[in-house]
Each structure stands twice: as C-alpha cells, then as structure tokens.
Symmetry: C2
C-alpha cells in the first residue's frame, strides 16, 4: 500500500493543506463533528481486514528484525485491539465539545463589550512510535476539537498507519488527517520547523524523542510522559494501609509513566515498616536499588531511600523528580499541606497511588498526553488542551481615548 | 557601577539561583508579596538619583553613537517617567493575586478527591530592548505571581538596568530578580537553552528578536507583539461613524502593535466612502500604499485595498494578518458573525478601533505581553498568564483498580 505513496512527501504542501483543512474544521458544529466521528469508526471497521493484514505484515517484518516481544506487543492491533480502538472513537463522539464555549463576558467602562471564545488550535503535529492505535486516537481527538492533524508514526508501523489513514480518509474532510508516509527521519526535523502551518507538536514516545523535539522545534512542544515518580512514607502514615498503596503504585503496570520509581521512607520506619514493605514488593517480583534515583524504571526495579524526614524527602524529590507524579503517605495534615505546596509536580498526591495520574482517572474522558511542562496544559491533557481562545470585542463604532 | 559586576556571568549558576529563589517565592502569601512590592517601589524611589544618573550616562553614550531620537526617547527615564514606573509597581500591589486559586474541585467515582491549584510558573526569562521601564515592570509582575526572573536588557541600557536591579535587590528576596549584566550576545543563546532552570521566555522587542528566540530556544517562548492589523469596511457599515474609528485605529499611536496597518474597503464603497476616509486620514498625515500588505508599519503609512466583499476580505486577512488584531465595521450581524468565526486572530473586533487590544483596555490590570501564538495565552497576557496549575489528589490510601 505504501508503494502508492510518494517516498519523499512535500511537507510545505502538506502543511498548507492541513492549514486550509483546519479552517473548514473549525467551522463544523458539534453535531457535524460527532457524525464524522461515527463515520470514521465505521470506515475503520469496514476496512478492518486490510488494516489487520497490513498490521500482520508490519509484525512479520518486525519479528524478522528481531524486535523484542514487548515492542511487538505494542505494534499489534490483533486480538480485538482494533475493535477497541473503534470503540474509543465512538466514545469520543459522546464527550462534551469544548469548542465554542464563551467565557469571561464583560462590558468595559469604555463601552467595549468583550468575551473570550474557545476555538481549535488549528493544526496538530504528532510524532509517535510503535503503537498504531495512536493514529486513530489522535485523529478522533483532533476531529472532535476541530483541528487538523499531521501524523508521523514510526517506520515499524508504516503499513498499518497507512492502511488506517486510507480508511479514515473515506470518512474525513479532505486533508483533515494526513500521514507523513515515509521512513525518512529528516522529515521529522522539517516538520518541527513548520511553525507557519503547525500550531502544536505532541511527541508520544521516550525521553530521546522529547529531547529531540525540544532541541529542534520552532513550534511549541508538549513535553511529557516521562515519570520519575516518588512516594514518601511519613512517620505518621497508617503503615498497614500504606503497603497496598505502594504495591499498587509500583506493580499495577510497571511499564507506564505514572508507576512508582523511588520509595522514600522516614528513618523512624527504616527498621520496622521498610522490611515489611520490601517483602510485599519482593513477593510481586520487585528488585531494589539504593544508588540510582534519576531513572524512569518502567520495570519492576524500585529505588529505595531512607530519609531523615519531610524536609529531606522534599529536597530529594526536588532534585530527582521529573515533575510528573509525586505523593506522600501521612496522617499529618501539616505535612500533607507542606508536601502539596513545596513539590512542584503536575500531580501531587496525598494517600493514594501514583497510578491515579491519568486522564481517565481524573474524569477528563480522553487523554492526549500527560504534560510535565508548565505552559498551556499540565498533567493529563483532555480535549480542552487541544483548543485556544480568541478575544471577541464589539462596540458602537468605538474609538479609544 | 557595572564595573563591579563580572563581565561574563555564569549562567547555569544564575539559573540555579533563580530556581532556588522561585521555590521560596512560591510560598509567599499575597500580603507578603504586596509588602515586598511596596518595599520595591520605595527602594527604587530612594535610589532615584543614582538610577537617573546611570540613565543619563546611557543616554549620553547613545547620543554619541548617533542613536535616533525615537530610540533615545524609549531609553529615557527622565521627566517623571521613573516616578511613573514606581507608581505602576504600587498599582500591581493592589491587583488580585491569581496564585492559590483552587478550581475544578471534584470527587471521582474511585474515591479520589481532586482539585487544580494555581501556582507560579517558576522562573521567567525576559529578553528586551531599549525601554528600561520593563526591568521594573517585569520584576513587579513576576514578584506578584511568585516567580523569579532573569532579565536580559539591551546593552544600550546596561547602566540604567544595573542601577535599577541593584536598587530593587534591597527590597527583594535574594536572587528573585537577576540581571545578565553583560553586553555579550552569546549569553542570550545560552539563556535560551537553560530549560532545566527557566520555565518561560518572554521576548519584548521586534520581529527579529522573536524569530531568534523561536529558532534557538528549548524553553517555551511567548511569541507576540507584532501586529499587522486590519479593518474591513463592509458595504453596510455606518459610514459616518466608520471614519473616526479608522482614524483612531491608525493615528492614536501609530508606533504601537495594535495600530491599523491595512484598510480593506468593500468595492461598493470605493467611489463614495473611500475618498472621504482617505481625506480624513491624510489630514492627520497618513500616507497610503496599495501594493504592500505584509508590513507592520509602526508609522503613518497605511495599506489600502478595495475588496469584492466579505469573502475576499477574509481571504486577504488570512493571508496577511499576524493574527494580532483584526476588525470589521458592519451593520450586518450575519457578516459580523462570519468575520468572528473565520478570522483566526488573538482579538477579533466588530465596530471598534484596533487600539482596544490591550491588557488595560481589556480590564486585566497589567499586561505582560500581547501573545500572537496560541498556546498558554493568546492576546493580552495578564498576571494569570505567569502562572500554571498543579493537580492535587487525595484519598484514604487509595489504590487504582
């Protein structure tokens, strides 16, 4: 299928087409967008055989290249996963549409009548690896918010992504979702410089992809998804209840960004509680390290450190956290308040698992990414994070004094 | 005075000091911050003689270098301007503090109790030219919002800025406001790469400064302040009332970013209304061009174009606007609604002067910049644009299922 596509896409042409499409998408009503989402779901469903065939070819090639089982798993749309992706599109159609919201309406002393109106960002550039479900996820979230999207998936899923985009194109307005269908890595650098066409870059991948985007993009980049996450067990914590929270934070899904990386334990608990906590974790296969605190483990490895108390814990987290998710287990309201105030992370938790830092758990309905930078959106990004606003002013032929 | 300062500042050390200071500033109460603002105003007042002396020395040197009168005017703090700057600081103390606001409080089905809390961004990097009043303005806005600031003013005001920062340091917590006191331009590039310490870059200057920051920064940059602004006079406009609005948009302050650059006139008005409008503008010294529509004039030059109607006007604006301020003069609600929907600018106006796109006119109390990009803040940026939020979650030792 990819043989039909040009091997070197003309990115400026693609950008201009996306910008033009975005102007049309911005004018769609919520009903129109929801109808398109349902049509998109149907189109993907209808083309499932070709999509799964393309996916199988990607998987075969990846297997031949000696790709790890974990990565193969992320590539696969088999075993009902494609149907789940289609279900997610239908779910997006039921979410509230943030676009069009009017807020901060006021009449100024000058006579100026003013309000802010929520509008789409315009064109999203999404750079991702492996998981082909992102292709459909982002397309549906972009469409719901009236944005056009330019997608750059990994070369290892080029056949799958091409089949998905060809299927979706049957339902979508022209150029609403475009795929950079070439494995040429130079195209990523070129995409990152197209600020005249692209309004936001969303990298979905590891730290090196985020660093590359940060270094090379002239377009605002949403940095995120890298979690070096902490729990501090304070002296006053309910020790019996604390262990299941720690085990849940570490073991629920060790490979995701909100899983626990470092456990900090108050020194008063070093001889009593810590051995029990380690035993419960070891039972689940957790390994411990005591000398490395800057790694997002994404596995059953856990850093353990005994600290002198809250001050020491805060200093450690300030030095090592990726500002994603950090929590305290404590019965002290004073210490909880200090932790909330002094830990500068996207999510700061008291007496709960780090696993809760998630768009679904936060009730956002959809999650575009988890931002660890501070501008525009922080933490789980829902649909509203794909919008901006304009100021709309009017008067009776008003002049400024 | 600058002789006391190192000629090659150690930027990483300065960044680390700013980050450390920002953690203390974030914990200050509104009362504490307001007291510091009043102390800052007093410190600048107390040191006015030295500041004005330094400013006079900068002016002398600039004059010797043959600096234009317009630029000399922007450099000067004489003739009561320093007192006005001090007055502005006291006004900032009276503004509401956005930090600490709690919003979107909810209890999730999981039992997670969640809210968002408004917090300072951390460290602001501000790169500006000429106007030394920015030094004090930004210091006071940063302080009010609990942020630390690293300032990089132009070499032409190094003496003035140094005197201002030395004076302010008497009132401010250590390292709250630091000046890069060296004319070395390489330091700007270095500052733009310090994303581990600096959370936001605010350039205050011309297009080339904004472009440089966009190309070289790994820190989010607020692009803005460049206005290629339009008014479209629709066929149905009240022609008598339209002329004063056009004159006001062009002539009130031709050198500022929200002044009118291109007047688009419906072809039905080309023979009747347009000559009258031109006569009124010419009386104020306005010159007309009919072949250049991509320049921010910042002067009494005005582009004039006759268009076939609303569609044509929208196409022209989409092609030439800097997405700062664009307006329509019309009696047609339908055309006004289309203009508002289809023009993708920070401020879209109906029947008022472009001059209203301003933080003060919009009732924001203070203006950090006027953003023409879409992320984080669009249009006039008030104090809230210097903040972000954190998600605060708590539970009774909650685990995620």
């Amino acid at each position: 299928m990819s043989a039909d596509l040009p091997s070197r896409p003309n990115l400026p042409a693609l950008g201009a087409a996306a910008k033009a499409a975005s102007r049309q998408l911005a004018l769609l009503t919520t009903d129109q967008k929801n109808a398109l989402l349902l049509a998109l779901a149907e189109a993907v469903e209808r083309h499932s055989p070709e999509i799964l065939q393309a996916n199988a070819a990607d998987l075969t090639e990846a297997r031949e290249r000696g790709t790890t089982a974990a990565l193969l798993d992320r590539l696969s749309l088999a075993d009902g996963r494609l149907a789940a992706v289609v279900g997610d599109v239908r779910a997006v159609a039921t979410l509230p549409d943030p676009v069009g919201e009017v807020f901060n309406q006021k009449l100024l002393p000058s006579g100026l009548s003013l309000y802010q109106k929520r509008v789409p960002l315009g064109v999203l550039g999404v750079i991702y690896e492996a998981r082909p479900n992102v292709t459909v996820d982002i397309a549906s979230l972009a469409l719901k918010t009236g944005n056009a999207a330019i997608l750059r998936g990994g070369s290892e899923t080029l056949r799958t992504n091409t089949a998905l985009v060809v299927a979706m194109a049957e339902a979508l307005p022209e150029n609403a979702v475009q795929l950079i269908a070439s494995p040429d890595r130079a195209l990523v650098s070129e995409l990152l410089q197209m600020h005249q066409y692209v309004d936001m870059i969303i990298p979905r991948g590891g730290a090196s992809l985020h660093d590359f985007c940060r270094q090379n993009s002239t377009i605002p980049v949403i940095i995120g998804g890298i979690g070096v996450c902490h729990l501090f067990v304070d002296e006053s914590a309910d020790l019996e209840k604390a262990i299941p929270v720690i085990v849940n934070a570490k073991c629920r899904r060790p490979s995701v960004c909100n899983s626990l990386d470092t456990l900090l334990v108050h020194e008063a608990l070093a001889e009593t509680f810590l051995p029990k906590a380690k035993a419960a974790l070891a039972e689940r296969g957790v390994r411990f390290v005591e000398d490395e605190f800057d790694t997002e483990w994404m596995s059953l490895t856990l850093g353990i450190k005994v600290v002198a108390g809250l001050d020491d814990a805060i200093v450690h987290i300030q030095a090592h956290s990726s500002q994603h998710t950090d929590g305290i287990l404590t019965q002290s309201d004073t210490n909880a308040a200090r932790f909330i105030a002094e830990i500068d992370s996207a999510a700061v938790f008291v007496n709960c698992s780090t696993g809760f830092n998630d768009g679904g758990q936060f009730g956002l309905g959809a999650e575009v990414a988890i931002s660890t930078q501070k501008l525009h959106a922080r933490g789980p990004m829902g649909l509203e994070a794909l919008t901006t606003y304009k100021w709309v002013g009017s008067g009776d032929y008003l002049v400024r004094g």
